[in-house]
Symmetry: D2
Subunit: 364 residues, 4 copies
Amino acid sequence: MYRSRPNDKLEDDALRFLSSIDDDKSILYYDIVGSQAHSIMLHEMGHVTSSELKKILSALEEAKKNPTTIRTEEYEDIHEAIEAFVIQRSGMDAGGKMHIARSRNDQVVLDIRMKIRDDINEICAALSNLIQGLVERAKENKQVPMLMYTHLQQAQIGTFSHFLLSYAYGLMRDMERLYLTYHRINQSPLGACAIGGSSIPIDRKRTAMLLGFDSIIKNSIDATSSRDAFLEYTSTLAILTSTLGRIAEDFIIWSTTEFGYVELAESYTSTSSAMPQKKNPDPLELTRSKTAIVTSNLVSMLGIVKALPSGYSRDLQDIKAPLHGSSAITLNTIKMMDHVVRSLQVNKERMRQAASTSYELQWT
Amino acid sequence: MYRSRPNDKLEDDALRFLSSIDDDKSILYYDIVGSQAHSIMLHEMGHVTSSELKKILSALEEAKKNPTTIRTEEYEDIHEAIEAFVIQRSGMDAGGKMHIARSRNDQVVLDIRMKIRDDINEICAALSNLIQGLVERAKENKQVPMLMYTHLQQAQIGTFSHFLLSYAYGLMRDMERLYLTYHRINQSPLGACAIGGSSIPIDRKRTAMLLGFDSIIKNSIDATSSRDAFLEYTSTLAILTSTLGRIAEDFIIWSTTEFGYVELAESYTSTSSAMPQKKNPDPLELTRSKTAIVTSNLVSMLGIVKALPSGYSRDLQDIKAPLHGSSAITLNTIKMMDHVVRSLQVNKERMRQAASTSYELQWT
Amino acid sequence: MYRSRPNDKLEDDALRFLSSIDDDKSILYYDIVGSQAHSIMLHEMGHVTSSELKKILSALEEAKKNPTTIRTEEYEDIHEAIEAFVIQRSGMDAGGKMHIARSRNDQVVLDIRMKIRDDINEICAALSNLIQGLVERAKENKQVPMLMYTHLQQAQIGTFSHFLLSYAYGLMRDMERLYLTYHRINQSPLGACAIGGSSIPIDRKRTAMLLGFDSIIKNSIDATSSRDAFLEYTSTLAILTSTLGRIAEDFIIWSTTEFGYVELAESYTSTSSAMPQKKNPDPLELTRSKTAIVTSNLVSMLGIVKALPSGYSRDLQDIKAPLHGSSAITLNTIKMMDHVVRSLQVNKERMRQAASTSYELQWT
Amino acid sequence: MYRSRPNDKLEDDALRFLSSIDDDKSILYYDIVGSQAHSIMLHEMGHVTSSELKKILSALEEAKKNPTTIRTEEYEDIHEAIEAFVIQRSGMDAGGKMHIARSRNDQVVLDIRMKIRDDINEICAALSNLIQGLVERAKENKQVPMLMYTHLQQAQIGTFSHFLLSYAYGLMRDMERLYLTYHRINQSPLGACAIGGSSIPIDRKRTAMLLGFDSIIKNSIDATSSRDAFLEYTSTLAILTSTLGRIAEDFIIWSTTEFGYVELAESYTSTSSAMPQKKNPDPLELTRSKTAIVTSNLVSMLGIVKALPSGYSRDLQDIKAPLHGSSAITLNTIKMMDHVVRSLQVNKERMRQAASTSYELQWT
């Protein structure tokens, strides 16, 4: 059974300082699913009887369906909380065995890996929508001549489509990166235990298979100490949000009164009570700031792992917030940009006019 | 009256993306206090009658006492939510005037400044306790010889006190920096309105005085666009947590079995169910990671303001989370370190023995 | 012909501020090779005669062989300097044509892409050596029992090989990432010109083929504005150096007198004149700091591109230093680690002894 | 005498990896001056005779006048190189004593502190010029009405002066911060030696006084391990460059054809050979990127010191490059901005016209 403290008392502020319960909520579901696969394997290897397995699985299923009944606030982390829940429902004889040949150290990495798999899928689906939106708007605006800028100064003449497709190309590379990262995420650490595996016979490939992993991480020190796949994933998101930030900056500039090329749909602007004429492009400004936030989340994670010795250290708990935060921010920003792109009003006349008085045409 | 949108409907995910309500909760109290001072000044300048003022102040006082009755979830930010609360309690005639000659742009900076003032005071009080703890432990250990290390290799011989006082000196400079920063925080932006002040006669010095500010920020563009004082404050916290990180690293190394100089009190260690002999120094490891987190919060803030044009941009909303987060993390980490220092067991015999077999003594 | 300024005079400090000559030296070779391919294509497309081509190629070949004869200090960037060199050797009629249908904006991205290709190859070769070294040392130390640590506290018993192989696994993923990044680097931007391509008929696929690229970047705005592939490459290096940083930290701790598991070869330590017994693990400490430096280079690059509008902006000049710097640092750090690993003395007796008195064995 | 290695041989690539000679050149002068003061004190304390002192001082004076005669390339750092130079000129009997009661660990911190003092003075002088330039231009443009923007959307009407003064106010706070930082920089670490001071009687206050320090850093562990004052200084520069970045962004936007409010003097723009009409605001774009660079230098430094144990570690060598780099970048950027501000052409007519057609006026 998990036990965090030699004695159970911790002063309140120390408990708050040490607790990861808030960050853990996003992996609760995965912790349950991982425990189900682990228990099945334990049964297959003869460490858990059929009847014990039935009790464990039924308690876990209940936890999955009613996550709010898990008394998370009383425990230091989600692993303890779920185990306590299972023991309470299935009895110590059954529930107490769920922990055989497993440690929080391999379990937390397992949970995060399962969550990132789903995050990648969700982000790629949203990205795909956004790219589709860009391509559709590009098709509508194929014939719309538009000035191109370097150094924000008028340069050559192109089309509005040319810009929209340049965004689509960038985002397709972002999706490619996520796709490639998936492979390094999708490897199972389960069975590495605290750091050195277990002397109890287990079948690591079986749990990996049950949970849909491509393969296992062979070396147990590597499995519990390394966070490089998470760094890779987050850097992929930082790059992606920086692609979105460029789109946002273009639209912010083009939607000024002075440029006047595009106008955001009213529902995606804010106004001012004192100056009701204003149409502020708030979603685009927040897209811009998200680039800085996801970058800083990556900095946080690289900083946390910097020069940590091998073997789990509690520092690693603190990568959960920037990691899961980056997933959520990226997903929401993509969806917001999708709304903005699809509802954007294009001022073709203004584009045409600006292009017609440009130096390039006069010169030809 | 505040009004965020041309029409009131926003799709749910857009609303979530744009909303700052969660980050705003930490400034709710200050927003109320700021509104009280502003209303008093408006009355003194003849824009609000006695009876209106009474109604406004009474509604605000109610909001202060029962903050949960403010329906924050229906509004995009706290300023709107509080205004709506006041209007609902005091009527549109009175409550609607609270907004005269004020904008969210000066109001949010005011609120943050008031909050940081309190944060500085609280952090300095905690720092002062910790420094006192270090000095007390230094006094107890004056005579305890201890090896000093460079490159983590044994170097000269000193005392354990020598180390404890070196931490105290560093933390005193951290406090000095906070003290100096206070001055640049404690200047009132109120009255700068959206960006260019107001044509309605107001008394900026009066609200500044009522709210305990040293002076006003004279230039209204500066008052609403600049965030340098917040960057300064957060960099001060990043440096402070890096001082704490050094203490943590020393204690982590010294509490290994191999060094064995110190031992953490049982209540501040974690153990392992499989290896019950373990005394893991979790609070110190988390102190180490906090350095990375506060650093990355600073990166986030510097990134957000990077190359923003003058005038409020919605990007600035996103500095609230890393800013307030840094205050909370720093405060909790100092308190945790204070517990650790005061409860630390010092293995004097081991220190003495290691010092006695060192190269320096053999050589003399 | 390239021309940076409307008039040729720039005050000295402005010139220094604007110049990228120092950062450009690392792409000089690639700029020449790119110009050769471009000139050949221009000839094939009928824009340059055989005799002109011969003159151009011969001047470029001379530049390649004697790069110091190029008067870089007189020009603002390497592109101007090389063009001036070619014109001076081959005459304006020939040399002046080298610039047809090309801009610094596509040229600089081309040069950097060619350089990174070579950097990836060199880094992977060095990585491969280091991995081989780790595996060899692992083979030698298969039977050496060693304590494993979590939270830097003694945990289970493993072997020294187990650690060495955990490093090798991590570095193999680092190599995998570099291999995958290569694909997004190896696409030719040439022909995108300033931002919108050229009205002069050129063959983009031909230059791509001549220079060994997999394909061309189709969209010209994308080709000149995007830096995501460079961000991806640098994040790969940041992750790689963080793997190295973990190895360094392990060895630093294990080479303390207190742990005593390993000893660095004398040539890779420093000593102290006052304390000649010291063997400071300087290369490992610098490996640790390099993690922070490459991370910060990535931060610099992500910060520079943050919210830049589409189209080349001069800001992008400043990504060259952190980009090329990261390549050099990473390569040197890998080589240094290779020396350290191969020359490391392993204190098997100490490892055995520590393992034998550990809790785990006593308990069994 | 300093001695870096047990034996003098180091493989070339290892030497390059370990060497700090390039970064050290900026502190060469200060190392000489510090050695002069130290030698005088040693003489006063009776450790060096008059005649020895004369020889040492004369050799150091020669080094100061002809720094290029110091054979830096043969040594691992500047301290060794200068000592070798002095010994070679003054003989081992005299020159060998310069090192009494001193270590590279206190010496390098001393040198950096002296350099930063000068850097602060130089940067403040340049800042003062720039502020003066802004105020002068503000005086000229007092009567020029100009639109103010929030969210880059037209808001209230102000004057061009109003903007220029908002910059001046921000820069004055930047200067204030530098002034306050000076105090924590201006404390002498000399005499702390490697980490624990020296058993040889020295007078720390005397060298501090000779070198113009306010006071000494009392605790020797603190003096050699802490880098917080350098972090504070660099964060001050990061904030300062972010103020400059805002000015740059405003001017970049205002100098577009579409806004047309200001025009950069020709000598501070670049053009394009293909599009000679262009006036690209390169110095402003590079000002923008410098914000990202100085921020990342701070990240580098915070990352390097993160969780380092007490006592000098070689990692600290790597803070020199980002530290001195930040000073140079900041100084050059301020000077560049000064040129730009003083030579900026203000398009008053355009400002007036835009203001006159604005919503605010129509509405009144």
